[in-house]
Symmetry: C2
Subunit: 354 residues, 2 copies
DNA sequence: TTGTACGCGTTATCAA
DNA sequence: TTGATAACGCGTACAA
């Protein structure tokens, strides 16, 4: 450990050249004679010079080659969620073309690196919360490109969106065509301080989480009087407890449960089985996302397959465009219906509704 | 869009104070009179100043609040691998205490941000390859803390390790006690340009991937004459193709297959079923990792559960310590045997080996 | 092909 | 409590 780290100036002095010459040797921007070149390299080796300091370089160049990714409250939740994981994968791919790395950030107030202080050239927000709005303004003022995936960050910010409303309506219609009329929607978290529990469908427009609201609106378009139970998170266990709550609630048991995610659906199916009922004979269950979830086998979930990797890739491409100074368009991706064997016709031996 | 972004100097001028005073207003390092404070803030608002530029700040301060994470060749593989995912989760938690973000880097030559040029205060390497060695030297020369998880990066670099050898021996012994003698190990990639296929156990010491070598050595300690088939990656599909290759190979069919990961085991089980055989009656299968893998249900994998999240957390803590100037000790984490129903005694109706 | 001069935007130090 | 000064380490016009 030297008292001070060697800088390019030290190397230049040692090699008997100007600092700018040494700089050029490392960047390769200008031709350098082989003689000086090797002298500089030798000096660098001798001094243990590790190449240009990225911090200084990024100040000088005005960019750091880093794209910030802001994910939900907790990284662990994001990692645990297969859809986010796949999306990040696509994003990494999209960003890699520029040679950029991905800086993972939480939008957590406490402890996490403050968003405006994060050294990134651009930011991708995933399902952003309202809490982010103020940070976003700061970034925009600074002129840092921002792209939002599945969320609304306000005007002027490009969005990568999914056809949540229509997709949920498609699968709801499938259920309706099977004859189901008593339906419960198990929703993703609705935000706004509301934790898990029954949710009044009248308040749907107040839901702050875009994904949840859009999918719910799609379902309610088909089943106007569906009841809605909001889960606390998109975990199998949450789906399980939601399923139990739904099946043990007073009143008539639903013949179909529409989950807003495959993960929730997996938990719901377990709850149905635990209640001594069969899927789909007694209760039909649908998912959303099209990811393979553990615990569903040997059943195959009837679900909407969303292009998760494509979402990330699109975001990466949008970011690249903005860094080039081009304004990217909003992008709307569509989901595809995938039939499975967790839905079936209303069986006649179930007592019809009053 | 102004021609130029406002800087702290602009704000200071507008407020009629020195730049250093304005700086202090934002950093809060020194007391400032309320009058000047509000003048500076007003000027900042007027000019649309977004706070100190993180690039300049990090040059000046000598740190960026970023911890680099180097994962395997492909980010997508890392994300897809449940163990890595869980580990990253733990790592995020470990570094969050310092308020650092996580910069994901590939050790891929092409495309990714070059390791030495990545603007991070410290680095965590996951299962590093030999290719990294030179980059590592550079980082160490620069004085950047480096921690290695499951890999050897050379002397002086703290390691977070798993008891791969012993753990694999434990589960192998379990299989041996069930009476199995004809055993095949399906290994993780062995590196060194060797792709999927049969691998000569004599060459075990030449395997460059530490995890693979250590687990293999553990297995060979118990089953000296086990045959070894190397998978191309830790995917279910790779396990499947390995399973097919193993079951259709000339010579006697093994009564047990030891997979080096749960994911591989899941694929192997499918291959066994496809071959018209039963698990565990005809073939016993073991995994490694203890993550829940899709496609195994309703069976429960007999496996070694490794503390994946703990690995990440330990790495985060080690990094924090190094940034404080404290040398952290090497850490060895241990795995726990978890019995399932994918292993059973050698059934008597299978013809014994010659 | 090489060197000079300057600025990128910030903050620590010290003196006032 | 405030201000002047000097780095932090680098890249790039431009001139030689």
């Amino acid at each position: 450990m030297n008292a001070r780290r060697a800088t390019i100036a030290d190397v230049a002095r040692q090699a008997g050249v100007a600092a700018s010459t040494a700089s050029v040797v490392f960047s390769g921007k200008t031709a350098v004679s082989e003689a000086t070149r090797s002298r500089v390299l030798a000096a660098a080796a001798e001094l243990g010079y590790a190449g240009p300091d990225p911090r200084a370089a990024s100040l000088r160049l005005g960019r750091s080659g880093v794209v910030g990714v802001v994910i939900g409250d907790r990284l662990r939740a994001a990692f645990r969620d297969p859809v986010t994981t796949i999306m990040l994968d696509g994003l990494a791919e999209g960003v890699a073309e520029r040679g950029s790395g991905l800086l993972l950030l939480r939008d957590d107030e406490s402890g996490g690196a403050a968003l405006p202080a994060a050294p990134a050239d651009a930011f991708v927000l995933i399902g952003c919360s309202t809490r982010l709005r103020s940070d976003l303004e700061v970034l925009q003022r600074r002129g840092v490109p921002v792209v939002v995936v599945e969320g609304d960050a306000g005007e002027g910010i490009p969005r990568i969106r999914l056809d949540n409303h229509d997709a949920q309506a498609v699968i709801a219609r499938h259920v309706r065509e099977l004859g189901h009329r008593r339906v419960v929607v198990v929703a993703l978290p609705v935000g706004g301080g509301h934790s898990r529990g029954w949710f009044d469908p009248q308040s749907v427009s107040q839901i702050t989480v875009d994904v949840t609201r859009e999918r719910l609106e799609g379902a309610l378009e088909v089943f106007e009087d569906a009841r809605v139970y909001a889960a606390g998170a998109s975990f199998i266990d949450e789906g399980y407890s939601a399923g139990r709550a739904v099946l043990t609630a007073p009143g008539e048991r639903p013949t179909a449960i529409l989950a807003q995610s495959d993960v929730l659906a997996a938990g719901i199916i377990r709850a149905v089985h635990d209640a001594g009922l069969r899927v789909p004979e007694d209760v039909s269950v649908t998912g959303f996302d099209g990811v393979s979830v553990d615990g569903v086998a040997p059943l195959t979930l009837t679900t909407m397959v969303q292009p998760a990797a494509e979402k990330g890739r699109a975001a990466g491409i949008a970011v690249s465009a903005m860094l080039e100074g081009v304004a990217p368009p909003d992008i709307l991706l569509t989901s595809v219906f995938r039939p499975g064997n967790t839905t079936g016709p209303v069986s006649s031996d179930v007592a019809p509704g009053a």
